[in-house]
């Protein structure tokens, strides 16, 4: 159960930060839905794992949390990105692009025959 989430840990952090950055404060369910939608349901995560990621981000001070009311008037905990979180997002995004660019180029190499 844990393997997938561990592999995804860094990626998940990046996705959550990006989602909060782009869409403003969201609750855990909202974040999970958003990520599923954007990945066009290709990334079917166990929704609970999102909270393990949120705890880490909270502890690092990259996001903040507060209780509020949802659109259906349910009590829900809302997460928002902080200034430190934005800086972190920039760093991680740049990192990601460098890595994915490298891997992309690597994969485009033609096999030598």
């Amino acid at each position: 159960v844990t393997d997938k989430s561990e592999i995804l840990q860094g990626t998940l952090d990046l996705m959550v930060l990006k989602a909060l950055d782009a869409l403003g404060p969201l609750h855990g369910y909202g974040i999970a839905r958003r990520i599923e939608q954007i990945s066009e349901d290709a990334l079917q995560i166990n929704q609970g794992t999102i909270y393990l990621c949120l705890v880490r981000l909270l502890q690092s001070g990259w996001i903040s949390a507060s209780w509020g009311a949802s659109e259906n008037n349910r009590r829900a905990k809302y997460y928002a990105i902080t200034a430190a979180g934005r800086r972190q997002l920039a760093v991680e995004a740049a990192n990601w692009e460098r890595v994915s660019g490298t891997i992309g180029r690597l994969l485009q190499l033609l096999p030598r025959r």
Binding site: H27, G28, Y29, L52, S60, K77
Partner: protein, 884 residues
């Protein structure tokens, strides 16, 4: 970096208040689930379907909560806390087991920490001055012996050439007779210090001033600084004491300062004066000063030692005529300089002994834990089956023994505190340096904490390793009735018992040797009648007693006045009160070639000495029958000297010559002495002599000493005798103190004090070891017997007799005892040699001690084995087999 710190703090916060965090998360999951269900309902699912799908989507809430807690809090600390809670529950659940283990550890740790407190005070703590670890004592290293003082010119040479010390001061110690116009003259310990000594120590008077350079000029007005104690006791804490005139050995001086409470540098001093060298003390061979300095920052002792050795060699080369016996320099700490030799060996032996007691306690607790482990095999198997790894089990078991260790340590600290207090009250060694204070300080506290941890590991590790060795399910299906200790457990338990017995033998042998020494000391036959015999120290000090004639005149007048006192049967001066002597000499008999052991003890005595100690001359005359003006050149010897050096002859009227050991060998300068009488043998030597010494008694008039004792035999109380003697002494010299009186019995007891103290200490330690190890032997025996109850029942049902069963149980214990005794005796032979310097009248391999100790331990351990074995042999077989 910032994120990492923030994360750690957040985890700590979550760990401290786990409840709030859990509730918050549960609520969040609840709301998440509700939203999922809402969505699912909207998609047209039934309520039941919607709920099930939502739970699948979210994941198992219990597992999520557990993982959340791991991420949010401190999972390791949390598990440790869990183990701790469990361990405490176990302590309460099994009160007898816990009490036994805790008390055993408390005794072990308490006694060990008591020993450490003593060593800490004597060796580790050092002087109570700022950065006292930088202070060093500097002295010559002679070719023979430990340490030789410096002369004033040498001090100046060392000071001028040294780069490793920031300063080099020196002192000279000695008692002085302190007089003033207020109260009784009094003898106090005085120290003459070079001018910069107080600065070097970092101490100054709390009232008045320290030494100024002007005070060191020759012919400057004499000044003195007094201790806080003297200020209180003699001057009633009078603030007007500054400027008061006193007489020190008859010379007038002015008090200019009072030191703070507790300052008594270097050695219980009450009076300090500036050291102004006399003409004699300016000479290079007048070595009277003990130098001390402060090491420069960044210089270690080895570098200082090397430098001082270099300087010493230069000085030896430059002044060979006064440096014949010198090899180099010595740089020591104050502790090394003051608490050396015998005391060090004694204290370290004590420390070794208390470590043995602690080890025995650890072994006992290890065995207890091992015994319990068998009962807990099912528990361990269950834990393993539920997924606990070996590491997890090990940690839990070690936490359990740590809890026992900490509880034992806490109780032990109480024991230590009480013990240290009792020891400090019992110690009455007047030679103890002022900075040795026996108490429990933070160093002792830290030591106890460390010992607790060590104890927990030492007693818990082996049992924990064995107990945690389990396969899930292996024991679960096992019938508990058949569960006996595994061979591995039994072997370990046996080895522990053997170790314990061997340690006990070593400790008991040490205790036995010390106690037998004490016994030998207390039944020492001095050879004199001690009842009604008192002694008073007299010292004639200062320039007015610089000549032999002045001293002779004082003693003569004092003796004749005391002879006239009513109630005093006899009074005499002596340089040595039995059982001590006044030095050793090499004897030479006129007309015989010197050969063999020629050492004899000497004592200078007054005319009535033999009457005072109630020993009668056997042959010839005593001194009182000789006219005072004819006392030159005569000697009285004891019959041991007579029989050794004049076998089969009459020594009376023969002549002998006495030479100082180490003096020039020709000895021609020593005068011939005519033997006028022979007395019975009085023990005069040292407490540790196995046999009496040959003694030569000289009339003190030949060379009146500066220091002597006045012996008086009287039926009056010592206090009355003292006041009478004081009055007479002060009518001759108003500044002459007679500081104290002691009965000879008290003096002997006091000089054998350390034999009593260490004999009792070792005795108590030995007893503790014996009790602990027999409790251990008994416990293991009883436990083994109870474990084998059903086996024994079957055996008896099949016809085994009680005797056979008894032997079955006993055999194992006897084998362990044999091994324990063998190993223990061998180890004791090897170890007891360190005690040899402290033994009186016996050697370290004393057969009586070894045999009786072995017999004692064999007896006690056999009893401890037999009791449970007998109980086992009386089992009712039917009950035993039916027992679940």
């Amino acid at each position: 970096m910032g994120a990492r710190v923030r994360r750690a703090l957040a985890r700590l916060r979550a760990f401290v208040q786990p409840g709030a965090l859990d509730r918050d998360f549960s609520e969040e999951l609840e709301s998440h689930l509700a939203m999922l269900i809402d969505d699912n309902l909207r998609r047209g699912m039934t309520r039941e379907e919607a709920r099930r799908a939502a739970v699948v989507r979210l994941g198992n809430p219990a597992s999520l909560r557990a993982r959340h807690r791991d991420v949010a809090g401190l999972p390791h600390a949390e598990r440790l806390l869990q183990d701790l809670r469990f361990a405490l529950r176990l302590v309460r659940k099994d009160p007898w087991f816990s009490a036994t283990a805790v008390v055993t550890l408390a005794i072990g740790i308490g006694i060990n920490a008591l020993g450490f407190s003593i060593v800490n005070a004597a060796f580790l703590r050092g002087l109570p001055f700022a950065r006292a670890d930088r202070l060093s004592v500097v002295a010559w290293r002679p070719t023979e012996g430990r340490r030789q003082s410096l002369s004033y010119p040498e001090l100046q040479d060392f000071r001028a050439r040294s780069q490793t010390f920031t300063g080099l001061s020196a002192y000279l110690n000695g008692p002085v007779n302190l007089g003033d116009d207020m109260s009784q003259p009094e003898r106090v310990r005085a120290t003459w210090l070079t001018a910069d000594a107080f600065e070097l120590l970092g101490e100054q008077p709390v009232a008045g001033r320290g030494f100024a350079t002007d005070d060191l000029r020759e012919g400057a007005e004499r000044i003195a600084i007094i201790s806080s104690g003297l200020w209180r006791t003699r001057y009633g804490a009078d603030p007007a004491v500054l400027g008061r005139a006193i007489r020190v050995n008859g010379d007038t001086a002015t008090i200019v300062g009072v030191m703070g409470a507790g300052f008594a540098f270097p050695d219980n001093t009450d009076l300090w004066m500036p050291f102004v060298p006399t003409a004699r003390q300016r000479q290079r061979d007048a070595r009277v000063l003990l130098a001390f300095g402060r090491l420069r920052d960044g210089v270690d002792r080895a570098a200082a030692q090397a430098e001082m050795d270099d300087i010493a060699k230069q000085l030896i080369d430059a002044h060979p005529e006064v440096s014949r016996d010198l090899a180099g320099a010595r740089v020591d700490t104050f502790t090394e300089a003051f608490v050396g030799g015998q005391a060090r060996v004694m204290f370290l032996a004590l420390m070794g002994a208390v470590c043995f007691v602690l080890l025995i306690a650890c072994v006992n607790v290890a065995n207890l834990l091992l015994a319990r482990s068998v009962y807990r095999r099912r528990e361990m198997a269950l834990r393993a089956a539920l997924g606990a790894g070996r590491g997890r089990l090990l940690r839990q078991l070690l936490v359990e023994s740590a809890v026992l260790g900490v509880l034992g340590g806490a109780l032990g600290l109480v024991l230590t505190t009480a013990g240290v207090r009792a020891f400090a009250a019992a110690i009455r060694d007047p030679g103890k340096p002022f900075w040795i204070v026996f108490d429990v300080d933070y160093v002792v506290f830290a030591y106890v904490a460390a010992v607790c941890v060590l104890t927990a590991v030492a007693s818990g590790l082996a049992p924990a390793l064995l107990t945690s060795r389990t396969r899930g399910g292996a024991v679960l299906d096992d019938d508990s009735r058949g569960s006996t200790a595994s061979p591995r457990t039994r072997r370990l338990s046996g080895a522990l018992i053997v170790t314990e017995l061997a340690l006990t033998v070593v400790l008991l042998v040490g205790a036995g040797l010390m106690i037998r020494s004490l016994f030998n000391v207390s039944r020492l036959d001095v050879g004199i009648r001690t009842d009604g015999l008192t002694l008073m120290p007299i010292r004639l000090l200062g320039p007015k007693y610089a000549t032999a004639d002045a001293r002779r005149a004082f003693y003569d007048r004092l003796e004749s006045r005391l002879a006239a006192l009513a109630g005093v049967e006899a009074a005499a001066l002596t340089t040595a009160v039995p059982p001590f002597d006044g030095g050793e000499r090499l004897i030479e008999v006129e007309g015989k070639a010197p050969s063999g052991r020629r050492f004899v003890s000497i004592a200078s005595v007054g005319d009535s000495f033999f009457a005072a100690v109630d020993v009668h001359t056997l042959r010839g005359r005593s001194f009182d029958a000789v006219p005072a003006n004819a006392s030159a050149g005569i000697v009285v010897v004891n019959d041991l000297l007579a029989s050794r050096f004049f076998p089969g002859e009459d020594p009376v009227a023969r002549r002998i010559r006495l030479r100082r050991p180490g003096a020039a060998a020709d000895g021609a300068s020593e005068p011939w002495l005519t033997i006028v009488g022979v007395t019975s043998t009085i023990r005069q030597g040292s407490i540790r002599d196995r046999t009496p010494n040959p003694v030569a008694y000289l009339p003190y008039r030949q060379s009146p000493p500066q220091e002597a004792f006045l012996l008086a035999r009287s039926r009056l109380s010592p206090a009355v005798v003292l006041s009478e003697v004081r009055r007479e002494a002060q009518s001759i010299d108003r500044d002459q103190p007679v500081p104290s009186i002691q009965t000879v019995r008290e003096m002997i007891d006091e000089s054998t004090w350390h034999f009593h103290a260490f004999g009792n200490a070792f005795g108590i330690l030995g007893l503790m070891a014996l009790i602990l190890s027999s409790v251990g032997v008994y416990g293991v025996g009883a436990y083994a017997a109870s474990q084998r109850a059903s086996e024994i029942g079957i055996r008896m049902a099949l016809g085994a007799t009680g005797r056979q069963v008894l032997w079955l149980i006993l055999r194992r214990g006897m084998r362990q005892l044999a091994w324990g005794l063998t190993i223990g005796v061998a180890a004791a032979f090897a170890v007891s040699r360190v005690l040899s310097g402290m033994l009186v009248g016996l050697g370290p391999a004393d057969p009586v001690t070894f045999v009786s100790i072995a017999a004692l331990l064999a007896l006690v351990s056999t009893a401890a084995c037999v009791v449970p074995a007998r109980r086992a042999s009386r089992i009712d077989p039917v009950d035993a087999i039916r027992q679940p």
